[in-house]
């Protein structure tokens, strides 16, 4: 084709520059987001890979031979000896400082040992520790009696290659074999797993793919909307080209090139923008820790691929749209008639729902495990539902506008309802981004409601106080030694009481009794009321379980009941300040008499929030924010182009005396009707899909009422819509002024 003709087409007139800038800008934002999200997904996966070793659970450190002839009985446990190729490892599930969970692994190894512990040169000596840089900084900036005393002597830092992120709190301490075996919680490890998700890898990947689709879809919509900018003016120009002899193919290819050029410029700019924003993006904490900046890099291949795909797709779509518009040499003199949407538009949505429901039925009702079928059904179903909402929108919008048109009373209502009724596809396109965003937000809100943090228990008499810490006492410690440790702890600042509970044997032993015995004088410090009139009292051992929520009552125990019993539990009451809590924890854990790490009823809250899937919740809120922001941007762009495309006729209406306020009301209605029509559908579908996903992944999860965050996000979306529409009001005044009505 003639290059001159191309130049004419691309930079035809000065007014074209605004449109080209709009396309380039929109594509730049889109490409930048795609690359950052891609980088984010890569980063999270790299992060999970590096942290995989922390999931290693090892093999039992004791062998329990079955007793022949009685399958229910077992013989005495015998320790499995350690070799040069194995180490003993103990995991502390509640190594907590303030409100942060520290990943603590205690190791005992033979010297020399061939086991390679990730991130450190050799297993630490007993009493020494390796810490991640972030943890080491924390240790150094905190009084030792609150944190440092728990670990011993600093031996070095753990290498980044074994840390999920720069903020990861990981500690590897050395311990003696005897100490670990005595605790009863050590396992034998020969090497470390590299699978970050264990058995739920498929489910995790499914969720990740669905999340990616949910976030990318609004980006795609944005790109699709900006490339359609100024369609009406363009049609006129193409008609002129057709008149002077250009073939439909020529016009289509001009449209393609005309879109491809600004898309390319925008995409390249987007790549640069993404690179520039990477350090800022790395500062966003996901699941409690930031991401290494290098993890966010996508590499030149990925960037080129994104640029190529975006440019190619936008060019093809522009060419296709132009050829579909059927521009003749006489132009589109009559209003372009959209095909009336029919019920067929419900098909993709129904198909998507059917796919997801099928997947859930397979998993839950038939209880067969077919990962090769379930994941594609869930992911495919989700994508179909996303597309289905965009497809069904115009049909629903038209149904509503038909009623609206009949009932319309004011000029603004008649004009807006007529336009929506005649061009439901175009008007719905303006709000499609926002509708999708609301859907995505609802899905995320529904899905993350299952992983909501458990509320911290309130202080109630009859239960362990939230400000207290307790730990069971190990086997073989004399009451005197335990008592001494309790006294030492009790003298620390902020610690109010130290109570010891007694029983027939250490609680993890077979001979442990169902009750814990206390001195009645100690009971008030544990928060008990209605204390029986006796010297010794007893309480059920379930007092120590975090799932116990009903207050327990004390029962009187025979006097002198404590004789012959051993200490089984130590409870420290604190004043509730974080410093005192950490001091108590450090004191107990380094006392040498406790069998388990000190825990507080508050810890459960932290632990539950560290589930694997929780990482997705943060991603989900990030996704929500992106989706809503993009949707607002798309709505502003689409509303603006709806004004620009009609500036002549709207200008003439103003000239006839129609007040600007009526024009504003028209524009507002044209955005509000399709938005509100599909909004409720979006919300409902969002929660349905979330429920399907969640039940499809794990039947122990439940979808709960969404958090206030959700309503904030929803309100924010609507505010954004309002802002987007309001932003175009200035445009209305400017573009419908006298100049717009001149005959050119």
């Amino acid at each position: 084709m003639n290059p001159g003709l191309f130049r004419l087409a691309v930079v035809g007139s000065r007014s074209a520059y605004g449109r080209l800038a709009g396309i380039a800008g929109g594509v730049a934002v889109g490409v930048c987001l795609v690359l950052l999200l891609w980088g984010g997904a890569n980063g999270l996966s790299a992060r999970d890979d590096r942290g995989a070793w922390l999931r290693e659970t090892g093999r039992p450190a004791v062998a329990v031979p079955a007793v022949s002839g009685d399958p229910s009985a077992s013989g005495p446990a015998t320790p499995v000896p350690m070799t040069a190729g194995t180490v003993l490892m103990r995991t502390n599930p509640v190594e907590i400082f303030r409100d942060q969970l520290i990943n603590r692994r205690d190791f005992a190894a033979l010297s020399p040992s061939t086991v390679k512990i990730p991130g450190i040169p050799a297993p630490p000596e007993p009493g020494h520790y390796y810490a991640s840089p972030a943890l080491q900084r924390l240790i150094e900036s905190t009084p030792r009696d609150q944190l440092g005393d728990r670990f011993g002597q600093f031996a070095g830092t753990i290498d980044d290659s074994a840390l999920p992120g720069p903020d990861s709190l990981v500690v590897i301490t050395g311990a003696t074999e005897a100490e670990l075996r005595l605790s009863g919680r050590a396992s034998l490890v020969s090497d470390f797993t590299t699978n970050p998700y264990g058995g739920s890898a498929a489910a995790y990947n499914t969720v990740l793919l669905i999340g990616a689709a949910a976030v990318f879809f609004p980006v795609l919509l944005l790109i699709s909307i900006v490339t359609g900018l100024g369609a009406a003016q363009r049609r006129e120009r193409f008609a002129t080209l057709r008149l002077i002899g250009a073939s439909p193919q020529t016009v289509s290819s001009i449209a393609a090139v005309e879109t491809a050029v600004p898309s390319l410029i925008g995409a390249v700019f987007g790549v640069v923008l993404a690179a520039a924003l990477r350090p800022a993006a790395a500062q966003i904490p996901v699941n409690g820790t930031r991401v290494f900046e290098a993890d966010l890099a996508t590499g030149p291949v990925a960037a080129s691929a994104v640029v190529a795909i975006v440019v190619l797709a936008s060019a093809l779509v522009a060419g296709y749209r132009t050829s579909r518009a059927g521009i003749g040499p006489l132009g589109v003199t009559r209003a372009v008639h959209e095909k009336t949407p029919t019920m067929w538009r419900a098909v993709p949505l129904m198909a998507g729902l059917a796919a997801m429901i099928t997947a859930v039925v397979i998993i839950r009702v038939l209880e067969v495990h077919l990962p090769w079928l379930e994941s594609p059904l869930l992911i495919g179903g989700f994508v179909l539902i996303l597309a289905g909402i965009v497809v069904i929108g115009p049909w629903l919008t038209q149904l509503v506008s038909r009623t609206g048109l009949r009932r319309a009373r004011s000029a603004a209502a008649v004009i807006a309802a007529s336009r929506i009724h005649k061009t439901p596809v175009a008007t719905f396109r303006s709000v499609s981004g926002l509708v999708i965003a609301v859907f995505v937000v609802s899905v995320f809100a529904g899905a993350s409601s299952v992983i909501q943090t458990t509320e911290a228990p309130a202080a109630r008499p009859g239960l362990l106080q939230p400000t207290s810490l307790h730990a069971t006492v190990g086997t073989g410690h004399t009451p005197a030694r335990v008592l001494e440790a309790a006294h030492r702890a009790n003298e620390l600042p902020g610690i109010r009481s130290a109570t010891i509970g007694y029983g027939p044997a250490a609680l993890h032993e077979r001979d442990a009794g169902p009750e814990i015995f206390l001195r009645a004088a100690d009971a008030p410090a544990l928060g008990f009321e209605n204390i029986p009139e006796s010297e010794t009292v007893a309480v059920d051992a379930s007092l120590l379980h975090f799932w116990t929520t009903q207050p327990l009552a004390l029962s009187p125990a025979p006097a002198r009941a404590l004789e012959g019993l051993v200490p089984v539990v130590m409870v420290l009451g604190t004043d509730g300040t974080p410093e005192a809590m950490d001091r108590a924890r450090t004191a107990m854990n380094s006392s040498g008499v406790t069998a388990i790490p000190a825990t507080s009823p508050m810890d459960n809250k932290l632990q539950s929030s560290t589930r694997l899937i929780q990482g997705l919740a943060v991603l989900a809120y990030l996704g929500m924010f992106l989706a809503v922001a993009i949707a607002g941007l798309s709505l502003a762009v689409a509303t603006a182009s709806a004004v620009l495309d009609r500036k002549r006729v709207l200008g003439l209406m103003r000239l006839m005396g129609m007040p600007v306020s009526v024009l504003r009301r028209i524009i507002t209605r044209e955005a509000a009707v399709p938005l509100l029509t599909v909004l409720f559908l979006s919300v409902g579908l969002g929660f349905l899909v979330a429920w399907l996903m969640v039940t499809g992944i794990d039947d122990s999860y439940r979808v709960a009422w969404p958090t206030p965050d959700y309503f904030i996000a929803l309100g924010l979306s609507l505010l954004l819509a309002l802002a987007a529409v309001t932003a175009t009001f200035g445009l209305i005044r400017g573009n419908t002024a006298m100049a717009a009505t001149r005959f050119e």
Partner: protein, 237 residues
Amino acid sequence: MSTNDTAAPILSARGLHHSFGQTEALRGIDLDVHAGEVLAVMGPSGSGKSTLLHCLAGVLVPDGGSVTYRPAGRSAVETSALGEPERARLRLSDFGFVFQFGQLLPELTAADNVSIPLLLAGTRRPEALRRSRDLLERLGLDGLGAKLPGELSGGQAQRVAVARALVTSPAVLFADEPTGSLDSLASENVLTLMLELVREAGTTVVMITHDARTAAYADREVIVRDGAIGAGYRVSA
């Protein structure tokens, strides 16, 4: 002819000056439009006809000079001294407009298009639609009220525009090349029907045209040349 030299003119312009940037569109125009007359404004392209019409109709405020509108039974207003909201209200209530083309909202039916000015003025929709259909019938468009502008011929669409301009019974009808994109027969149809209605109602008409046969429907014509009323202007006998 209904021109009445003793009565004050319904619209009078004095010393109108207006520029668009460096271009002087109007350079000192005096013009009186009498109640009930049909005035043709002629002149070559770019002579300032449309600018004159826009100043007379209170669409534009001239850079210099004044425009006075004297509605029957109300006190005179200097429209060139009003703010845009007041002028918009005046245009809506007292003036009607017909343009060359592209003035109908493409998504609205003919009847809805005609009813918009009534709705803007606060008329209830059923009443507005009834009056719109009546007027369309008088313009020979019976049964076409439910059609969209795209489904009408050029002449029919222009008659819908005339109906919309007249549906509020304006005192002055401003027409800018109302038949500019029609063939002879269609434009004759539009003009005949339009003038029949305005003469019956006593509506004053200011009509821009460069076409002598269209101007021949007027009671008199003025010629605008280079932003001034042509030397040949005189009230014809």
